[in-house]
Symmetry: C2
DNA sequence: CAGGTTGTCGACCGGTCGGTCGAAAAATGA
DNA sequence: TCATTTTTCGACCGACCGGTCGACAACCTG
């Protein structure tokens, strides 16, 4: 018996593998096409093994979300702390969000599928709109702080925050649809739009 | 034998009824929860009857999309034609889009579920991202026209169009999440944000 | 009333789903 | 070496899916 919370090397490797396979399946076949059998087939292994390592499909998909989330937060935090001034902080946030989206299209489309479709046993959505609410209020705080410091104009911070988050959330699909799109270029243009909105 | 394209009174009533039931089911239980059996149960009728009147689940859901679409276009066109000048046209478009979203939350969430999930027999999505593309280019045209007329500032019309459409597409969820939200109020605030972006 | 059309029903079909189970292989450790 | 644990397999389960089918009721029309 292993002590709780400890995962063997094989265990960790398998979990990484299945998370990766689930991510690819979500991206290529969508939520409905991502069955345990489909994930297992990608990993060239029996379906039971996936259940053995994760316990349930829900746990597997939650692991996917956590993996992607964990890969995004550090970069964003670093970019934010490097910026000085409220306007620079806001634009740094937008910029890093665009660059991350450009570099992680597949992952973000996958978690999007999970957010919109994964349901608890009782039928309720696993990830509600309230989760995204935190992201909006975060931007809203940036805007409010900037307004109080006099760096921004007189607009409704809530509305502008919603618009900014909506634009960011739409990015994965944009990058997915137009493979020619250039991350830094989009970042510059979106920063300009945000800059205009907040003057 | 009825002549083609003619639907009996009962036929029309049934189709309206099933479209309405499918719409409610999509709104409350999501795409995955909207089976033929679920729709039939809402209508308190046998599952076969739904298939009898629509032929397939896909046809039923396409009818839902067409119904919602048909209810939106006339209002939008009327609002656009009533506006004079490029800036007024753009803001009228945004305003009517917000008001429509506020009044048709359930319908728009339902078609969103269909857009993101309905697949053809071969597995490909029934409604691709290319459909939404038309909406973006429509806004882009409004912006370009206004720029050429000197009513707008010097920004990238494509980017701003994407931002505007993203904001509009996010509205159903916003109205769904916050029942206190006031349509006209949101319209005014979003128009202000758009106005700032395009100056 | 007779005969065909339209509408409704419930049983049923093949298939897929998430998940279970017992057996066996592989790794581990005394 | 051998007992124990960890990992893998494939058969299997019940539930539900979209859709079909034949019987039958309801309704029109002559």
């Amino acid at each position: 018996m292993r002590s709780e919370g400890q995962l063997s090397f094989v265990e960790q490797a398998r979990r990484r593998q299945f998370v990766q396979c689930a991510l690819e399946s979500l991206h290529e076949a969508g939520f409905a096409g991502t069955s345990l059998a489909a994930v297992a087939q990608r990993a060239q292994i029996s379906k039971s093994v996936v259940v053995y390592h994760f316990g349930s499909k829900q746990a597997l998909l939650e692991a996917v979300v956590e993996t992607v989330y964990a890969s995004a937060v550090p970069d964003i935090m670093a970019a934010l702390e490097a910026a000085e001034g409220h306007r620079e902080r806001l634009l740094a946030y937008v910029r890093i969000a665009v660059l991350f989206a450009a570099d992680n299209v597949r992952s973000l489309i996958a978690v999007g599928e999970i957010f919109r479709n994964l349901r608890r046993p009782d039928g309720a959505l696993r990830y509600t709109a309230a989760d995204g609410e935190e992201l909006i209020t975060f931007v809203e705080e940036l805007l409010r702080d900037g307004q109080e410091a006099g760096e921004f104009g007189d607009f409704d911070p809530r509305t502008v925050a919603v618009v900014i988050r909506a634009a960011i959330d739409a990015l994965p699909d944009r990058f997915h649809l137009d493979r020619e799109l250039d991350g830094p270029d989009v970042a510059t243009k979106l920063c300009d739009a945000v800059d205009r909105m907040t003057r």
